[in-house]
Assembly symmetry: C2
Homo-oligomer: 337 residues x 2
C-alpha cells in the first residue's frame, strides 16, 4: 500500500521541464511531439513511476474504457455451468490486448435499480449480456442505455428493436448430431431436451425433429431434461421405459449426457454398441472422464470472443459487419457414437 500520494501529470511535467499538455500528449502517443521531448518525458515518467489516473481520464475524455459483463440473476446456474465460464474466457481473451477492463455485474434482484444506476453513471462504455433465459426483459432495456451485445438471440422476445447479438447454430448442430446417428445405422433415435424456457433447448429440439422428419423416422421419443446430470439420468430412464428398443439418443448438453450414460449403464446397455449417445457443448464434462463423449461443439469461448469483438467495433464507431453473428457448430466424434 502506497503511503505517499501517487505522482500526477503535473509532477511529471515539472520533472521533465515541459507543460502538462505535452506530457498528456506523450502519454497518449500523439505523433506531434518532438522525439527529444518524448524522450525526456518518458524518462521522467519512469523515474517517478507515473501511472495515469483513470478517473480523471474518464472524466475528461468521457470514456470509461470499461465494459460491463452482465450476468443473469440466477447466480447459481451461471457459476455451475462450464459453458458460461468459457464464454467469459473468450471475452477476457478478446479484451486482453485492449485497454478495456471488464466489470462483473451480477444483475441483482432489482436490476432496474442498481444495474441501471451503474450503467447510467458512465462507469462503462458498453455492456455484454450473457443469459440463456427468455424473459430477462430488464436486461433488454439496458441496451438503450449503453451499446450492448447479447450472447444468445434476445429477439425471441417481443417488442424488440434491432439488437446486436452473437449466437451459435443450435439447430444446425442438432441436425448434424442426428444425421450422424442415422448414418451410423440407428433408426430408433430419442432425444433428451434441455430446459425448454431457454431458446437453445428449443432450437436443439427443432434440429433433431427436422432431421427425423426428413428421414421419415418416428420422432416421438422425446423426454425433457433440465440441463443437469440428474435431469439427464431421469429423462433417459423415462425414454428407456417408453422405448426399450432405443438404439440412439441425442442429448441436449454434455452434463445431461453424462447422466444418461449412467442410466444406460445401470440398465445394462452398452454404449455405443447398444445405444449411441451424442451430447452438446463439448464442454469440460465431455472429456473430463471416460468415456469421452461424442458431442456437438459450440465454441463457447469463440462466442465470448465474438461478443467482445462486436462490442469493440461498436465502441469504436466502426459499424460491425452485421448486427448478428451465428457461430458454426461442429460434430466431434469420440467414444459414445
Amino acid at each position: 500500500m502506497t503511503s505517499t500520494a501517487p505522482p500526477t501529470l503535473e509532477m511529471v511535467a515539472a520533472a521533465a521541464g515541459v507543460s502538462r499538455a505535452t506530457v498528456s500528449r506523450v502519454v497518449n502517443g500523439s505523433p506531434k511531439v518532438s522525439p527529444h521531448v518524448v524522450d525526456a518525458v518518458n524518462k521522467a515518467i519512469v523515474r517517478l513511476n507515473y501511472v495515469p489516473n483513470r478517473a480523471a481520464r474518464t472524466l475528461a475524455s468521457r470514456q470509461a474504457m470499461a465494459i460491463a459483463l452482465l450476468i443473469p440473476e440466477d447466480i447459481g446456474r451461471f457459476y455451475s455451468d462450464p459453458y458460461f465460464a468459457s464464454v467469459v474466457k473468450g471475452i477476457t481473451q478478446r479484451l486482453e490486448p485492449t485497454d478495456y477492463v471488464l466489470n462483473l455485474l451480477v444483475s441483482s434482484s432489482d436490476p432496474r435499480h442498481k444495474t441501471r444506476r451503474y450503467l447510467g453513471g458512465g462507469t462503462v462504455d458498453g455492456a455484454l449480456v450473457v443469459s440463456h433465459h427468455a424473459g430477462d426483459r430488464d436486461l433488454i432495456v439496458l441496451s438503450d442505455i449503453v451499446p450492448t451485445v447479447f450472447g444468445g438471440d434476445p429477439t425471441t422476445m417481443l417488442g424488440l428493436r434491432e439488437r446486436y447479438y452473437v449466437d451459435v447454430d443450435n439447430v444446425g448442430g442438432a441436425q448434424q448430431a442426428t444425421r450422424h446417428l442415422i448414418r451410423l445405422g440407428r433408426r430408433r433415435i430419442g432425444t433428451v431436451t434441455g430446459a425448454m424456457d431457454m431458446h437453445a433447448a428449443a432450437h436443439r429440439l427443432t434440429g433433431w425433429r427436422q432431421v427425423m422428419a426428413e428421414a421419415g423416422l418416428d420422432d416421438s421419443a422425446v423426454a425433457h431434461g433440465d440441463f443437469t446430470g440428474y435431469g439427464g439420468a431421469a429423462a433417459m430412464r423415462e425414454l428407456l421405459a417408453r422405448r426399450p428398443d432405443l438404439d440412439a439418443v441425442f442429448v441436449a448438453n454434455d452434463l445431461m449426457a453424462r447422466g444418461a450414460l449412467i442410466t444406460l449403464g445401470a440398465a445394462g446397455r452398452r454404449v455405443p454398441t447398444d445405444v449411441a449417445v451424442v451430447g452438446f457443448d463439448d464442454s469440460f464434462a465431455a472429456t473430463n472422464e471416460p468415456p469421452a463423449l461424442t458431442t456437438v461443439r459450440q465454441a463457447a469461448d469463440e462466442m465470448g470472443w465474438a461478443m467482445a469483438d462486436m462490442l469493440l467495433d461498436l465502441l469504436a464507431d466502426r459499424n460491425p459487419q452485421s448486427r448478428t453473428r451465428i457461430l458454426p457448430t461442429t460434430l466431434v466424434l469420440r467414444e459414445t457414437a
Copy 2:
C-alpha cells in the same frame, strides 16, 4: 443509447432550487439536510433521472468503489474448475449489497505491466487474488500497491511480509475423510493426490498420512493425480494394480473421484461395498450425476465471501479480526462411503 447528455448534479441543483453542495449531501445521505429540502431534491433527481457520474465521484473522493479480482495467468484451469467459480460466486454475493463493483482482471503474461498499471491508476481500492499455484510471485508484489486479500495461503513462498488471506482447512478435511473410512472398518486405504505443486494437494496428503500413521495403518498406497477426471482414473488404476485388495480410497478432489469411480466400475469393484470412495470439494461434480459422492466440503463460496469481507474491513479502515482466516471443512456423507 442516450443521445442527450446525462443530467449533472448542477442541473439537479438548479431544478430543485438549491446549491450543488446540498444535492451532493442528499445523494450521499448526509443527515444534516432539512427533510423539506431532501424531498425537493429527490423529486428533482427522479424527474431528471439523475445518476451520479462515477468518475467525477472517484476523482473528488479518491475512492474508486471498485475491487479488482485477479485471476492467475493460467486461464484455462481457472475457468474449468468449478471451485474457482464458487469462489467468485461468494465474492459477488458479499459485494452485492455494497456499492463496490468487481473488476475482472486476468493477469496477463506480463502482469508487471498491465496489471500494475491498472492497480496503480487508482482504478480500484483493493484487490482479491484467487490462485492455487505456488510461484505467482508477481501477484504478491501487488499487495504493496493496494490492500489485497489472497485466497489460499500465499505465505508458503519466501520473503513474505504479513499478508491477508483466507484458506480452508485442507489438512483437517483430509483427516476427517480418512477417519471416516477407518470408522467404516476399512483398513487398506489408499489415496489419490492432486497436483503436488499446489499447496492444497500437499495439505490433503498430509492429513491422510497423519491419520493413517495414528491408526498404525500402512500409508504406502499413494498415487499422484492432477486434479482431473482422467488423472484420477489413471491414478486409481495404478493403485489397484499395486494393491488389488484396497478397500477404500481418499481422492483429493471430486473430479478425480469421478474418474476413480469409473476405473473401479471397470475393474468390477462395487462402490462402496468393495471399495469406499471419499472425494474433496463438494463441488458441482459431486452431485451432478449418480452416485452422489461422499466428500469433504470446502465451502468455496464461503471462501470468496470471507475474502471479500476481509477486504471490505480493510478498506473501511476497520482492522479485520486477524490477518488470516481458515475456514472449516466438513465431511458430507452420501453414497460412496
